[in-house]
Symmetry: C2
Subunit: 326 residues, 2 copies
Amino acid sequence: MTRRIGVALCAAFDLPAIYADAFAAEGLDLRAPDALASPEEASFALTFKPEPDAFAPYPNLGAVIGIGAGVEAILACPSRPADAPLIRQTDADQADQMAGFALWHILHWHRRFDLMLAAQEQGDWLTGAGGLRLAHVDGAPWPGPSPRDFPVGVLGFGFLGRRVAEAALALNYPVRTFSRTAPEPLPGAEHFHGDALADFLSEVRALVAVLPHTPATERMLDAALFAALPRGAVVINIGRGVHLDAEALTAALDSGRLAGASLDVFDEEPLPSDHPFWRDPRVVVTPHAASDATARAVARAARAALDDLAAGRASPAGLVDPAAGY
Amino acid sequence: MTRRIGVALCAAFDLPAIYADAFAAEGLDLRAPDALASPEEASFALTFKPEPDAFAPYPNLGAVIGIGAGVEAILACPSRPADAPLIRQTDADQADQMAGFALWHILHWHRRFDLMLAAQEQGDWLTGAGGLRLAHVDGAPWPGPSPRDFPVGVLGFGFLGRRVAEAALALNYPVRTFSRTAPEPLPGAEHFHGDALADFLSEVRALVAVLPHTPATERMLDAALFAALPRGAVVINIGRGVHLDAEALTAALDSGRLAGASLDVFDEEPLPSDHPFWRDPRVVVTPHAASDATARAVARAARAALDDLAAGRASPAGLVDPAAGY
């Protein structure tokens, strides 16, 4: 079988530098546009943030493969070939990374590592009595150290949200999940969907947002949503920056409605160095680091999808429904 | 049935203030020594760090109940009635707390939240390219974000260590465990015991020490142990301060043998405010906050043990083997 040739179309990253070796190991020849003999020889594209006219020169793209779990920038690209199947990443290892990242933030707020790290800078033991009553030190009725007293809510229940929910359940946090449609249930979790968002939010102490970017989810994390959470809840956004109304978040922190927030994604990335979130002690800022499909995983997924499509199998893993947006 | 009266014997905490209500709910009357009508009426003792002569006045103690998972201070007390069963805490909820606390530290080091938190103080996005390559920012060959590349070792495999191992497995970390004797195996984990300590250590990136305090475990975390770990490993001590050789830890951090350490327990608690660990960026100091059996859990365990003993059942939950030390 001849080597299948793909073209890398991305304004943000040098995709061949990251992925070409792994693709070669799968029998796929990934090239930058200027390394093709002719545009016709590209039979698939690998992309993340394509330029508006990125796809225009390539008449023979049988598949478009995104390197991330989210594909909104690819769907929005006007030159995307509408008849070429679009594949996103749905790698189990990436989901594990996302779950671990979310768990750090859940534990960080629940167990008040924010207070402990700040106290370390002052050489302050906090309690002076063995640490057994740490939960009381800030004078607020913060839940105790038992996970049973700190319900976790997962907003968005795709393959990433599901794994976050499983990981929180494994630590014996009570878990509730919300998605637009009714999913396959997760044993041990309480699921909400459709118009039950307020019900879902009403008992959530830590809200983990791992939403796809669709018109319906833009600025979903807004003042009304924060007001539906119990006072003192925390919000952890690991989906996309566009899900968050940043001004509403600051107001909710100022009013005490929210006790803290963890933000891994932003409208503008890198987050501008003068943005107030950087120096807000109530906010943990991380640089879009929650998860990253390995080059090997992306290459394997590409190979599997291209094989499926070549064999006439219509629904390869990760196939995007453009109408749903994921 | 008459209410059973217990005496609180502890130099560190006001036990009746913390536990009396929960004990009353279990039909147990917990009193300070000066609240007893006579020493004879105390039929059990609740304690944590007893004074040397604490038990001497009480001739009728049918059981001694420790409020912690570790009982070394009680075993070492010269006035402890040797014929009274000693009960320690083996509460599942406390084990969940311990597991979550350990997971925060494992994730903290694996995912380099130490670097991200320090970068936040500088308004520094770290990578400038979407954050996808965070693992490379410190210039060292740090493992990537997949849990599969960051093996966790659990040193001490009692009810707490077992739960830590289960939680790490749930996040798909490779887990190896070590204990003195061969335990009931944990599916998915690789177990080492006896003279296989060096084998166990040889592939551990994050070592979680959750050891009992016995003569054999004192200063077990020493230069030889650190030298048996892969270069760049991290050590998380959530057992007792006496397990750690603090000077050896500092030397191992200075030499780069260890990349970091998390310490929740110390020889002297509170850790003296001038101790260098407080301001060492390679060390996370927390105030003995890993877990805390709730008053309700301690009261229920006391009630269950006293009922078992009254009924002639010889092995109530949490019964300590003084020869083993746990």
